[in-house]
């Protein structure tokens, strides 16, 4: 039976055009970009071309603003630790929304252990950052405030421009994790007022193993991985040329096709949401309209998410995600769902579906039916 993949927030296939473009850097073109001979110059050029394409995707001021990394986790670490440590003289406070990805929250907690003061900014029941609280929390000593462009688990898009105004009126720098948002909604770092922005290659149909950090001109950060001084000294280590070249090409395609593809996905998403909310005691998580075009997330009372995931996969060949405790390493339910005010028992029964290029409207009735059958089956087993 054919599989229906609905977990694009976790991993995405590499676009065949990207692979065709970048595979030469695994095969024939292999020089070290730091070498001065012709083989090195060739890969150096590949990286600079990719940098230009990523610059254009987010409308950065110029190419030197883009630092390539190994992925979003490294970009988030570099942004947060690099900025907080470099600007310690100006203050030792950091802040993040309560629904940030763990690769933002954990570096923040590490800073906290070494003497920084960390404050989490609450969100409302739809996942929107509470702006009044943000105003209270960010002060002149707050060197990094980290708020994601859009959330990977509930799809909610933040009003980044407004947030940027608040942060810059009161504190120092705004870091935005755009891993889930890039390639789906337009991002303009200059217009949005962003100082540091995290991007991930695989989340825009590029190869795994590359990411980028945008650093606004004039912002001072320090390296967290010292070494040979690649990437303006901010990220040492021989570049992953294949993944970086692929990320560049993926960024170019994402920019060209975003408008059309996002409209298409929004249509599928809205039908999916309408169909699934017909199931008894089902609820949307996240915001209904301020929502990523490819993102549909729900919770169902009386059942547990890992069971939903297994049943959807084994019986219906549909791959989805859940914020259930049973699928996490900590055995705690999703901190994102809890931050939106859900109780533990409510957060256990969550389902996240993220669409991609392989999905179309024709799949919706089958998917909706599979979810309905799964929920009904598990509720029959449940004593609740």
């Amino acid at each position: 039976m054919e599989k229906t993949y609905l977990d694009h927030a976790s991993a995405m296939p590499v676009d065949p055009r990207v692979l065709r473009f970048a595979e030469r850097y695994l095969k024939d073109i292999f020089g070290n970009p730091s070498s001065l001979h012709s083989a090195g110059l060739e890969t150096k050029k590949a990286i600079e071309d990719a940098r230009k394409k990523v610059t254009e995707l987010i409308n950065a001021e110029n190419e030197t603003c883009i630092i390539f990394t190994s992925g979003a986790t490294e970009s988030n670490n570099l942004a947060i630790k690099g900025t907080a440590l470099r600007n310690m003289g100006k203050g030792k406070k950091v802040a993040a929304s309560a629904i940030e990805h763990i690769s933002v929250l954990n570096p923040m907690k590490e800073l906290q252990k070494s003497g920084f003061e960390l404050t989490l900014i609450p969100v409302d029941s739809t996942g929107l950052v509470e702006l009044e609280k943000l105003k209270e929390i960010v002060t002149k000593d707050t060197t990094v405030t980290s708020i994601m462009y859009a959330n990977n688990e509930i799809g909610t898009i933040q009003p980044i421009k407004k947030i940027s105004e608040i942060v810059h009126e009161r504190g120092l720098h705004l870091h935005v994790d755009a891993t889930a948002a890039a390639g789906r909604i337009p991002i303009d770092v200059q217009n949005d007022g962003i100082d540091l922005l995290t991007l991930s290659s695989n989340d825009i149909y590029g190869p795994q193993g590359a990411g980028a950090l945008y650093v606004k001109p004039g912002i001072k950060i320090q390296a967290i991985l010292p070494g040979g001084g690649q990437e303006r000294g901010l990220r040492s280590g021989t570049e992953n040329v294949f993944a970086i070249a692929g990320m560049g090409e993926a960024a170019r395609i994402a920019k060209d096709e975003m408008d059309q593809e996002s409209k298409r996905l929004t249509g599928i998403r809205d039908r999916l949401i309408d169909e699934i909310l017909k199931i008894e005691k089902s609820h949307l998580t996240g915001h209904r309209t301020q929502r990523l075009p490819h993102h549909a997330s729900f919770r169902f009372s009386g059942i547990e998410g890992e069971s939903i995931l297994l049943n959807m996969d084994m019986r219906h060949h549909i791959q989805i995600a859940t914020g259930s405790a049973c699928t996490s390493r900590t055995l705690e339910p999703s901190h994102v769902l809890l931050a939106t005010g859900l109780k533990h028992e409510e957060a256990h029964g969550s389902l996240v579906m993220t669409l991609g290029r392989s999905n179309d409207t024709e799949q919706i009735p089958t998917v909706a039916k599979a979810v309905k059958q799964t929920v009904e089956r598990l509720r029959e087993l449940s004593p609740l």
Binding site: G302, I303, E304, G305, E306, S307, L310, N311, M314, R315, S324, A325, C326, R329, L331, P333, K343, H344, E345, H348, E380, L381, S382, P383, L384
Partner: protein, 128 residues
């Protein structure tokens, strides 16, 4: 076993659990777990001459919670209550060809639910 997922047996019992349901006027009833933690099990037994003649369960929880519930009902059915009382969490996990390590504690409550049901039966019997 490395933490790479479930054994075939766990998945079989998850997909086709045995003895799902409730028993009216059960001779013993046990309930363990808590929906806040993500696992809740209810166990019903029918007992004749101290032999478990019928057993049913209802479980809210993850794949291993459902599979262990199903397995424990299979192990207990037809057994003397004193024998069934000796079934441990490890017995259940072994019969399922193992559970991922982190599931051993949190989602392996089925033996506890069975023991609770047997204790309930014995208590009722004493009161008669």
């Amino acid at each position: 076993m490395a933490d790479v997922g479930y054994s075939k047996k766990v998945l079989e019992h998850f997909m086709n659990p045995k003895n799902v349901g409730t028993i009216e006027n059960a001779d013993g009833y046990g309930k363990v777990g808590n929906p806040v933690c993500g696992d809740l099990m209810e166990m019903y037994i029918k007992v004749e001459n101290d032999i478990i003649t019928d057993i049913k369960f209802k479980t809210f929880g993850c794949g291993s919670a459902i599979a262990t519930s199903s397995m424990v009902t299979e192990l207990a059915k037809g057994k003397h209550v004193d024998e069934a009382m000796k079934i441990t969490r490890n017995d259940v996990a072994d019969e399922l060809d193992g559970l991922p390590p982190k599931k051993m504690h949190c989602s392996n409550l089925a033996a506890d639910a069975l023991q609770a049901a047997i204790k309930d039966y014995k208590k009722k019997k004493r009161e008669e």
